[in-house]
Symmetry: C2
Subunit: 345 residues, 2 copies
Amino acid sequence: MNKTRTSIVDIAHAAGVSKSTVSLVLQGSPLVNEKTREKVNALIGDLGYVYNRGAANLRQSRSKIIGIVVNDLTNSFFAELAVGMDMMVQSAGYVQFLAHSGESVDRQREVISSMRENGIAGLILSPARGTEASDIKPLADSGIPVVLVVRNVPGAKVSTLLSDNYAGAKAAIRHLISLGHRRIAFMGGFADTAVFGERLRGYRDALAEANIPINEKFVIHSAPSRAGGVAAVERMMDFAERPTSALCLNDAVAFGVCDGLRSNNIEPGKGFGIVGFDDVIEAKTAVPALTTVSVDPQGMGQRAAQLVLKQINAGQTDPESIVTSVRLVVRQSCGAPVKQLEELA
Amino acid sequence: MNKTRTSIVDIAHAAGVSKSTVSLVLQGSPLVNEKTREKVNALIGDLGYVYNRGAANLRQSRSKIIGIVVNDLTNSFFAELAVGMDMMVQSAGYVQFLAHSGESVDRQREVISSMRENGIAGLILSPARGTEASDIKPLADSGIPVVLVVRNVPGAKVSTLLSDNYAGAKAAIRHLISLGHRRIAFMGGFADTAVFGERLRGYRDALAEANIPINEKFVIHSAPSRAGGVAAVERMMDFAERPTSALCLNDAVAFGVCDGLRSNNIEPGKGFGIVGFDDVIEAKTAVPALTTVSVDPQGMGQRAAQLVLKQINAGQTDPESIVTSVRLVVRQSCGAPVKQLEELA
DNA sequence: CTTTTAATTTGGAACGTTCCAAAAAACAAG
DNA sequence: CTTGTTTTTTGGAACGTTCCAAATTAAAAG
């Protein structure tokens, strides 16, 4: 109903002080006298004043807004990542523009440029497939800290926070080998992402280490989703010599593989060993509980937020590359007894 | 590297025109001469100018920012809801503050007040459990359109967009009855939410309609999550006379129920009929594919965004209450042949 | 070449803050 | 009562836009 929002000068007028004093009160300055502070604070409540952070941002030419762009919010791994960031960002007194690129680089470009116009202080980006260094260059050049999470972008000179995909995959394969498996597949994903490449490399190296020859047919490409997991199993059923177990690109694929096996009357975890990757929240409660490489997306989100906040506060700093460690959580789906392996650095 | 961001007056100076003219160009006004427009646009590219939307917002005292608060992003129903909103919001040229309240009203309050300080033009809220009318009153009073989605808040005089929980539950139960079930449970959820109440009411009425007496033991409360579904089954296994099927509060619970049945060696969809609610993306590909009441969260998100955008553009309008229709999607988990029932109003 | 009309351009105030240098007030010491 | 010190308060400029009324320029008409 108010024609015009009440401002700092309205309360200054009501309190019989200057707008500067009110401003001082607002920022909790120790310079102001206790009595005037009280008077002003009372008026703030009474007149229903709401602080205009936009005006402050303009004057100070810095904002308390962090941009977050996530490639796929409907994937629970990324949703949890976003939640982790959200926690950190909020508790640092910032707000976030959180957008979903849906794996579209065009969309991502639009969103980033819009965030830029709105004056973000930093950006956390979980890049869409196909993102190029040029997509983030202008931002970084203008001095806005950028942190890349989960996926890297070749050639980008910004900070990154990636999980140790190589070590995780290697640990998973070693475990399957220790259970006696020799015909081990790698399911899900396409060759165009760094994540896929690193995990596959871990798979290959672990097999080589155990002197198990690699059967290229056992690397089964498919969409990195639940449906992709089903598809991969269908493909596998045609093989003359079938694998006895599989490492999946991520948990979504692993669940799909379980589904696919069931519709072929194979009991996941009994007739076939499955290891996922990511340790999404449902991994624990699924039946069979999923053996998986735990990445702790929420924790990763928090670290990413901390990193960008640190860079914002420090002014410009050199890009930092962090690889977060990962651990294999052994549950039922690989057919092993339940126990937690210790953290592997 | 730039000490100071280049502004409208910098390019005005470079182009030898006034800042007003540049402003006109920026807003695509037809008043400006084609040649000057070109000159200005060229300079904008060359000098790497980026529009400062914050300054514009300040001057115009309206923004292009929409606040979205979601109670639980890690639940894929809400994640998809958010994605639907995101699409609509972006394509209308707005950006969004998207925050996750984690079902905490305190958190939600903080987040809303922070959004208010940052000058949102409208708010879409999927409220945390326990939200009260007073939590949104100040916003609504100051003329900012608010749209409540999925859950209602008693006493709040704002627009709402809810799905037809009652009709959906009723349709689901009728279907189970038509398949010959008589002992039907209702699993998941607690009595303190409106959604639970409405779905339960549909359950009761459908049973009453068929003259099936209601066994209060068959309403099994539990957390509205996958783990809650497992827990509900455990509870059920102790019953002397067990249900033969269940309507679950939502799909997450339904998946949990499948898990729980399997660990008791009951095959979901064969030994026990299950119907979910929401139709999340995995419902289709799960094994068995989940029979569920489809709510189309993404579509709902879009409609919510449209509604709030409409209200923003229309200035202040009266609150509007929309109930979105819902349809039963019959898949495998209830043991029926696959077919789609038509939309029920 | 003047007048009228239409097309373009332009200062400057305003939006709600912060920040600075400086003024005012309060207090203490001589 | 001065003077010096400390505490508190204060105008006014600035941030980067938009918007208005008015000025300037170009085109058309006479």
